[in-house]
């Protein structure tokens, strides 16, 4: 590359190199654009997500955070009005271009949404569901795994006596942990969490936060949140978006103390 010509794109590529600091990216978003009719929802997004870290997506409502997450496991397929171009590389696969077996690719990512959506079945079957989809039918093995992942999210003691009761009978906080457990049970590498604590009480939120700190040893977490303090507590890497663009990204210490842009400064101080 001719270094005397520094354009916007290769500048951001240089930034990518610095930001990685030794951690190879596990997700790599390249030139991602999403349109809904005339509305340009995501504008040429380029982003690397470091492995086994918590990356926090911040930004005002409607800036495209949820849409960005949905591109990563191609849930955008469900919306006919969305047109997606660009590439999302995950672990060597281009999610957006691959046409065969998108179901298996989606299992590389666990999804935790704003409110829990337990499947219409028992607590046990909710966790067993994804395990069975992986082709595991051995009863003992399923049982072992259900217990393992319910323990991992700290739900086992609370539900072990009512595993075969409907999952909708749990409290919202418990349901959210159940959803996390069933997501972990398919052994993803990445957890996509879209405001996972916004419907929860402070104690349940705390539990989820602490879980995330544990989970990042083995998983890469991409977290959308509106709670600045949560971002400060959890983030290893922060991405600030506004109107479909990435405005700033970096380590939380730098970003929150010395925001380089007016937009981020406003966002931080208006939030308080």
């Amino acid at each position: 590359m001719n270094s005397s010509v520094i354009t916007d794109t290769n500048l951001s590529e240089i930034n990518l190199g610095i930001r990685g600091n030794g951690h190879p990216p596990i997700v790599s978003v390249k030139n991602l654009n999403v349109y809904a009719g005339n509305h340009h929802i995501l504008k040429n997004i380029n982003l690397d997500i470091p492995k086994n870290k918590i990356t926090v997506l911040l930004g005002p409502s409607g800036c495209g955070k949820t849409t960005l997450l949905k591109c990563m496991n191609r849930l955008t397929d469900l919306y006919h009005e969305l047109k997606v171009t660009g590439d999302v590389w995950i672990d060597g696969d281009n999610i957006l271009k691959s046409n065969d077996n998108i179901a298996a690719l989606r299992q590389k990512m666990g999804l935790l949404s704003q409110r829990p959506y337990p499947l219409p079945m028992s607590i046990f079957k909710n966790v067993a569901y994804g395990i069975k989809l992986k082709g595991i039918y051995d009863k003992k093995l399923i049982q072992y795994n259900v217990e393992k992942y319910l323990r991992e999210v700290g739900l086992w003691e609370e539900v072990k006596d009512r595993l075969h009761q409907p999952a909708v009978g749990l409290s919202i906080g418990q349901q959210q942990r159940l959803c996390l457990a069933r997501g972990l049970a398919v052994r993803p590498q990445i957890i996509l969490a879209d405001e996972p604590t916004s419907a929860l009480d402070p104690i349940s939120s705390k539990i989820i936060e602490n879980l995330f700190k544990e989970l990042k040893k083995n998983y890469t977490i991409i977290l959308v949140t509106h709670v600045l303090r949560q971002a400060v507590r959890l983030a290893d890497h922060v991405v600030f978006m506004s109107y479909g663009e990435i405005i700033e990204e970096g380590a939380p210490a730098d970003l929150f103390k010395n925001p380089a842009t007016e937009k981020l400064r406003e966002y931080i101080y208006d939030g308080n």
């Binding site: 397929d77 999804l111 959506y117 219409p120 079945m121 569901y129 989809l133 409907p166």
Partner: protein
């Protein structure tokens, strides 16, 4: 200032109360008339015997032929409607999620089919039978009633499936389901109460309809033993007996109507019980 709101509130509430209770009153009234008029003819013989000699002039016997015929036709047709209806309703809500226009066109056609009067189905079935050289039979009745009730089945189930939040679709896909797995393992379960309602509506319409079976199923005093034999039905039994000049026979028409009403009430109760029982696990 406040009195306006208060009167508004009272008037609105009374109107709603009046509409609700008057509907219930009408239902009670209908059932009462049927049972009072048919009471003296509602004997064990009526349910347990087929028409004997001179039945239509007030002689011995009952309408077992029509009860069995109606149940055969309604069950056969509902079975066909279920087999066609489940995949169709799921298809609209899973494979067509991205294609809004196509989805709306299909729904429009189904609604139109729902709205076609049953005599038209009967006439259509009759024409088809003539073309194929078929006689009025149980099979022909089942097929025509199935045509009549499948759109009802599909649209009712579809309405419920379409209310399932997108988040549940997303959750099951994110776990690695294919669309088919999502449809049958998650959405079908979540929409189960709607499915039961759909079956109930379809069955009720099927067992109660006279015009569609008039030319296609025929009428006989015997209980059908094969698909190519004609079959009697309760609505036609009511129709024939009600047009008789003999008072006892007209009374029997009301007894037959009472039997039909009881069958439908039993099916409704069973459906309510089933849907309550199997939708406990559902997201609300």
């Amino acid at each position: 200032m406040n009195w306006r709101k208060k009167t508004e509130e009272v008037v609105a509430r009374e109107i709603m109360r009046f509409s609700t209770y008057s509907l219930i009153l009408i239902l009670v009234f209908i059932i009462a008339v049927i049972f009072v008029k048919g009471f003296s003819s509602l004997t064990p013989d009526m349910v347990l015997k087929t028409p004997q000699g001179g039945f239509y002039y007030g002689g011995e016997g009952g309408v077992l032929n029509a009860i069995v015929g109606s149940i055969y036709i309604a069950c056969g047709a509902t079975l066909i409607a279920i087999i066609l209806g489940i995949p169709a309703a799921l298809y609209i809500n899973v494979s067509l999620t991205r294609y809004k226009r196509l989805k709306n066109i299909i729904r429009f056609f189904l609604d139109a089919l729902w709205g076609i009067p049953s005599i038209v189905y009967g006439a259509f079935g009759f024409t088809l039978m003539l073309l194929m050289g078929m006689n009025a039979s149980l099979l022909a009745g089942i097929i025509v009633v199935a045509l009549l009730i499948t759109p009802i089945m599909v649209r009712t189930f579809d309405e419920i499936l379409s209310t399932i939040p997108r988040g549940l679709h997303e959750a099951s896909l994110a776990l690695g389901s294919t669309r088919t797995e999502m449809a049958y393992r998650v959405l079908f379960k979540q929409g189960f109460s709607g499915f039961i309602t759909a079956v109930l509506l379809a069955f009720g319409r099927g067992i109660g309809d006279a015009a569609s079976v008039l030319f296609t199923a025929g009428y006989t005093d015997l209980i059908p033993t094969a698909l190519d034999e004609p079959a009697a039905t309760l609505p036609l039994a009511i129709f024939f007996q009600l047009s008789s000049p003999i008072p006892e026979v007209r009374e029997r028409a009301f007894a037959a109507a009472a039997i039909l009403t009881i069958i439908i009430l039993i099916i409704s109760l069973a459906a309510r019980y089933l849907s309550a029982r199997y939708s406990k696990t559902n997201l609300r």
